[in-house]
Each structure stands twice: as structure tokens, then as C-alpha cells.
């Protein structure tokens, strides 16, 4: 056994992301990173700190503020045989690159008859909760999941923070990785042997028989906390971490709901037209007659996120709202 395999030290989600980047850069010379302030500044959220020193300017490329050009350049570099990892500082700025993502990355393989797969990885920070207000608090990962040709993943654990990147790089398709800013300081240890991970399947993070909570990313821990509180009342909650938003792991999702007969979806995206609606419809389409209650959702209020903490908190999914919704579903007569 190598030194890497001994018990892992405690580290943060941020550190785990960095480990994933380091693994990738070390193991494949075709891999390089580009994005705004990832080098000299050390990354807006310090995820890429110290990578410039280790890997040098050619592979850790600070870009100008030109989201469309450097995302498109990532597509081109992927077509040219490299394995680019593009960091868009936050999902909020990715709107400037949407043409490249939707009209090129997502279409090239299909419209060229399979000639142009785009093995590109785009990482971006997502989510609210830090009082950054309306233009800096979007959660658009579920929105991106509408687009065929893209794969969308959201690591919620340290193992996934480290491991999903490698899986994304092995995938021949464009993969967008959404890293929730609320998780960056979360500490834990990596599971020995947890790498490689897959990016196709959901995971049950807590088993239970009374109700299924479907969630992902930053909301996972709110759901686990809600499950603990509900357990005190004898309500056994199953918590599913979706992990991938496109494709959705219908098999696991539907199987869980078939067992619990009730589903509550928790999503930091806006409610209308979010991934929460798609999850609900998948269940309706595949397990309608096994439901004992309507499917419910706890999502972000349909507002541009306001700055003050009390208003931001009121807008986002919260443990009390999750607990109350779950309780209401469970108490409904079948």
C-alpha cells in the first residue's frame, strides 16, 4: 500500500476539490485549468490555491474577463485533443458563456454525426447563503439540466468533491460540475478507496421507510438535519443525494419512492420550472399509483435573492420548512 492509502487526514470540501484537481493534473498531461483568478489570486474561493506553483503557468491559466471566449476556447481545446477544465468563477457569470455551452458544447457531437465529442469539464461555484444579493446568488444547475448533450453533476460530499472531477474527465461529454459555496468550509475525511466514483448514479445518504427526501448539493445537509429531527418523532426519512442532475438516476429515485410512497423534493433553485418539477413528474410518470400523498417541494422563493440575512434565509429552503413539509405529507391519509 502506498502512503496515499493510509487513513486520510481531516480536510475541507475545498481541499477535497483541490485534491481532485491535483490528481487530474498529475495523472494526465492533457489536463489543464483555465479561468479567472485561478492562478496568482489563488482562486476566488481559494480552491485552486497553490496549483500555479506546482503546475506552472501553461497549465494553470489565468484568463481575462471573457467568459464566452474562454469557455469556447475550452470547447476548441477539447476538440483539439486536450482535456481542459474551465472554471467559471460562479454560475452567475456563466450566463455570459451560455451561447458557447448550449449552442456549441451541447450540440457538436450530435450535429456532426458523432465526429465531435466535446470532452470538456466546466466547474463553477453555485448557490446562495452568503448575502451576496441578486446577481451573485443563483442556483442554476437544475436549469442547465434541461439541455440535452450536457451532463450536470453536483458533489455534496468530500468524496464526490474529490472524485467527480476524475470521472468527468474520463467522460467524453461536456460535464458541468456545480460546487456549492456553502459547503466549501465543511470538514471531514475522505473515504479510503473512494476514488474513482461514478457520475451516473444517485446515492442514499440515510435510509428510511416513511418518506423520501430528494435533494443534492448544499441542501443535502439541511435534509439530513431535518431527518434527524423527524426521527425523534418516529418518522423515518430516506434521504437521496441525486449527485447527477442530468441524467437523473430514475431507477434509484423511483425505487425509493415505491418503498416510502411519499416524496418531498428539496432544491435551492427557484421553484417554477426547476429540477424539482422534473423530479416530481418523473415520479408521477413512473410510480403514480404507488403514491400515498401528493409530491411536495421545498424550493427557493421566486425572488432575486435579497441581501439582508433575514430575507435571504426566508427565501432559501430551511430545516424548519423541510420538517414541516415532510410532516404534512406523512400525516396525510393514504
Amino acid at each position: 500500500m502506498t502512503a496515499d492509502a493510509v487513513e486520510s487526514p481531516r480536510m475541507s470540501y475545498r481541499d477535497a476539490l483541490r485534491e481532485g484537481l491535483r490528481d487530474a493534473l498529475r495523472s494526465d498531461p492533457r489536463v489543464f485549468l483555465m479561468g479567472e483568478d485561478i492562478g496568482r489570486y489563488g482562486g476566488c474561493y481559494a480552491v485552486t490555491k497553490s496549483l500555479l506553483a506546482e503546475f506552472g503557468e501553461e497549465r494553470i491559466r489565468d484568463t481575462p474577463l471573457s467568459e464566452s471566449a474562454f469557455v469556447g476556447a475550452g470547447i476548441g481545446a477539447a476538440l483539439g485533443g486536450l482535456r481542459p477544465i474551465v472554471e467559471i468563477m460562479t454560475v452567475n457569470f456563466s450566463l455570459l458563456a451560455l451561447d458557447q455551452i448550449v449552442n456549441n458544447a451541447a450540440t457538436l457531437c450530435h450535429m456532426s454525426g458523432g465526429q465531435c465529442p466535446v470532452p470538456l469539464v466546466i466547474r463553477m461555484a453555485t448557490g446562495a447563503g452568503r448575502q451576496l444579493a441578486a446577481q451573485h446568488s443563483h442556483s442554476l444547475e437544475g436549469w442547465y439540466a434541461h439541455v440535452p448533450g450536457l451532463r450536470i453533476v453536483a458533489p455534496a460530499t468530500l468524496d464526490d468533491a474529490r472524485g467527480m472531477l476524475g470521472a468527468a474527465l474520463r467522460c467524453p461529454d461536456p460535464v458541468l460540475i456545480f460546487e456549492h459555496i456553502g459547503l466549501l468550509n465543511m470538514e471531514g475525511t475522505l473515504t479510503a478507496g473512494a476514488v474513482p466514483v461514478d457520475i451516473d448514479r444517485a446515492a442514499i445518504r440515510r435510509a428510511g421507510r416513511d418518506i423520501t427526501l430528494l435533494t443534492y448539493g448544499g441542501s443535502l445537509y439541511k435534509c439530513l438535519e431535518a431527518a434527524t429531527q423527524l426521527a425523534a418523532d418516529g418518522i423515518e426519512v430516506e434521504v437521496v443525494d441525486l449527485r447527477t442532475l442530468r441524467p437523473l438516476d430514475d431507477a434509484l429515485i423511483v425505487d425509493s419512492v415505491r418503498r416510502t410512497h411519499r416524496a418531498l423534493i428539496v432544491d435551492e433553485g427557484w421553484r417554477s420550472g426547476g429540477i424539482s418539477a422534473e423530479l416530481g413528474m418523473r415520479i408521477v410518470e413512473q410510480a403514480f399509483f404507488e403514491l400515498d400523498a401528493p409530491i411536495a417541494r421545498v424550493c427557493t422563493a421566486e425572488v432575486p435573492i435579497p441581501y439582508p440575512k433575514h430575507l435571504e434565509d426566508a427565501a432559501l429552503p430551511s430545516v424548519p420548512r423541510i420538517v414541516a413539509s415532510a410532516r404534512a405529507l406523512v400525516s396525510r391519509e393514504p
Binding site: R40, Y41, P64, S66, Q131, A133, Y307, P308, L311
Partner: protein
């Protein structure tokens, strides 16, 4: 071409005014930094320390009919545009009495009565809006002009180019002010532009462009006045590059690994407040007592603003969904 100011135009009254305006911004922001460490102000906080001469020089050259579009680093612009310090401080706290009702915080100060249209936190995102505000002036046959502020980092954004072209093509009344503080977060201009003379970009659209010492408030004011006059006469947009330096961190999260302490200290000596104070004293326009008095006045105003903000109410959670869509005026 590069313009430099002479002291011929300065008198005591003018000197006191400019100094008061710069000091007011500086002291307001110093207090904000402190309030940030006290957790009274949260989110992102971007200070203008070192760049005050630009807002003071440019905005002092505007009229009430004109409109202003700024970035997330806009406290100085808001104060100069007449946003009351109380309302600004309350906005920093997120209180209902804030200039945006507390909704926006530091990055999104709005005051439509004073034609102050934000506070935009997307780099480059304000330029198209400023262009449209100018189009409205032109189509409505009004005589207002629009002042649009942005950093040199924005020059790399496509929206910058599209907007400059549109404004020049349609000869719209906009003054584009590039606050060139040499860095966009940690990225030096030489790492983001192949040609670092940003006037070359304006030239590609045939837009008159001038670079000036953005640390010299008199030079900025002189350049702004002549640009504004020309724009108001209907000669189309102009571009003003103000060369400056951000003396503090990009935001409260920045460890400044990307630049030397020595570089910062060199620039600190060239800061707009220190150089202007020295110059006015040397010219005998003001004395140390004047300076201390201005400081005291500003301090008192800031104190009062903090008390106002502290004692203001929070917006009710019941109103969270209000204003997602406009309400008919009551």
C-alpha cells in the same frame, strides 16, 4: 495624450470642496471596513480607497438631469451623486431605510430620484444599460448625458466592445470612464489585455479617448468637464481613462498574493487625498486646521449615519416577494 492639472484654477473654496468630498468617501468607507469586521455589514464589500479623485472629479461635473451607472465599487459615486449618507449606510446594513430598501447592499446602491442606476455586480454589465439610458436621452430629445464607470478588467468583456460600438455608431451622449487601477481582482492588466493602452480600444470605434492621472482630482475634473460639455453639445460619446490604484484589497476576502507590499506603498504615496492635501497646503489654500475640521465633520456625519442605520428597522419578511414585479404607484 495625457492631461495634467495646474493650480491656477484652484481657489480655497474649490479646494475645500474637493477635499471634503474625497474625505467623506474615505471616512465612510473606513468605517464600513470596521463594521464589516463587526459583522454589521456582510456579503461582498469593495472599497474605493485610493480612487476617490475619480468619482469626485467626474460626478462633480454632472448636472441633475444626467444619469449615472456604476459598479459594485460604487460607494464613492453614490455619495458624490447626492445619495444621503444615512440611506447609504442603511443600505450597507440591509435596512429598510437603505437607498435600495436594504435589498441590494453594498453592491447594488440605487437612487432613481438622483438618476443613480446602480451598483451593477456583473463586470461589464452596466455598459449596455448606460448606452440605453443615453439612447433614451437622445430619442426623447432631452439634454442629459450618462456617466458610466467600470474597471479596466471590464475591457476584456464582449459587452464592453458591443456597447462602445453602439454608442459611437449612434452618437449617444455617454461618457465612459475606465477606472484603471491596474488589477482586476488579482489579474494585472498585462495578463488580461494584449494591448494594455485601453485608449486603443476606444480608438477602434472612433471615440475620442483621453488618459489622465486619476490620482489628481483637479485633472480629473478638468477632463470630465470638457468631455461632458462636448457630449452635451451632441458630439457623441467620449472615453476617459483614469489611471489609479486600489490601495486596499479587492474585497474583504483578498489576501493580495498577486502584488508586492512595496508596490502598494509606492502608490500610497501618490494617493489622491495625501497628494491633494499636501498640494493645497503648499499653495497656502488650506491649513492643517481646515483638514482636521473636515475630518471631524465627516466623522460626525459617519457617526450619525451609523446610528441611523443601527436604529432603522429591518424590512418585514412578509414583503420578500414584493417588487419582483412592479406595483402600480400608490
Amino acid at each position: 495624450m495625457s492631461a495634467n492639472s495646474t493650480d491656477a484654477t484652484l481657489d480655497r473654496e474649490h479646494a475645500l470642496t474637493l477635499l471634503r468630498q474625497m474625505l467623506r468617501i474615505r471616512q465612510f468607507e473606513d468605517r464600513c471596513a470596521q463594521l464589516y469586521t463587526e459583522l454589521k455589514i456582510r456579503g461582498f464589500l469593495h472599497l474605493y480607497n485610493g480612487e476617490e479623485a475619480i468619482a469626485v472629479g467626474v460626478l462633480g461635473s454632472l448636472e441633475a438631469q444626467d444619469a449615472v451607472v456604476a459598479t459594485y465599487r460604487e460607494h464613492g459615486h453614490a455619495l458624490m451623486r447626492g445619495v444621503p449618507m444615512n440611506a447609504l449606510m442603511a443600505e450597507m446594513f440591509g435596512k429598510r431605510t437603505g437607498s435600495s430598501g436594504g435589498r441590494g447592499g453594498s453592491m447594488h446602491v440605487f437612487d432613481v430620484a438622483r438618476r443613480f442606476y446602480g451598483g451593477n455586480a456583473i463586470v461589464g454589465g452596466g455598459l449596455p444599460i448606460a448606452t440605453g439610458l443615453a439612447l433614451a436621452e437622445k430619442l426623447a430629445k432631452r439634454t442629459g448625458i450618462v456617466a458610466c464607470f467600470f474597471g479596466e478588467g471590464a475591457v476584456a468583456e464582449g459587452e464592453f466592445h458591443e456597447s462602445l460600438n453602439l454608442a459611437a455608431l449612434w452618437r449617444l451622449p455617454v461618457l465612459f470612464i475606465c477606472e484603471n487601477n491596474l488589477y482586476a481582482m488579482g489579474t494585472a492588466l498585462s495578463r488580461s489585455e494584449s494591448v494594455t493602452d485601453v485608449r486603443a480600444k476606444a480608438a477602434a470605434y472612433g471615440m475620442p479617448a483621453l488618459a489622465i492621472d486619476g490620482m489628481d482630482v483637479v485633472a480629473v475634473q478638468a477632463a470630465a468637464q470638457s468631455a461632458v460639455a462636448s457630449i452635451r453639445e451632441g458630439n457623441g460619446p467620449q472615453f476617459l481613462e483614469c489611471r489609479t490604484y486600489r490601495l486596499r484589497a479587492h474585497s474583504m476576502f483578498d489576501t493580495q498574493l498577486y502584488r508586492d507590499k512595496a508596490e502598494v506603498e509606492t502608490w500610497r504615496a501618490r494617493g489622491p487625498l495625501i497628494t491633494f492635501t499636501t498640494r493645497c497646503k503648499r499653495a497656502g489654500l488650506i491649513g492643517e486646521a481646515d483638514f482636521l475640521q473636515l475630518q471631524k465633520d465627516a466623522d460626525a456625519e459617519v457617526d450619525a449615519a451609523v446610528i441611523f442605520a443601527e436604529s432603522s428597522e429591518w424590512e418585514s419578511v412578509d414583503d420578500l416577494e414584493r417588487w419582483v414585479y412592479a406595483e402600480p404607484p400608490t
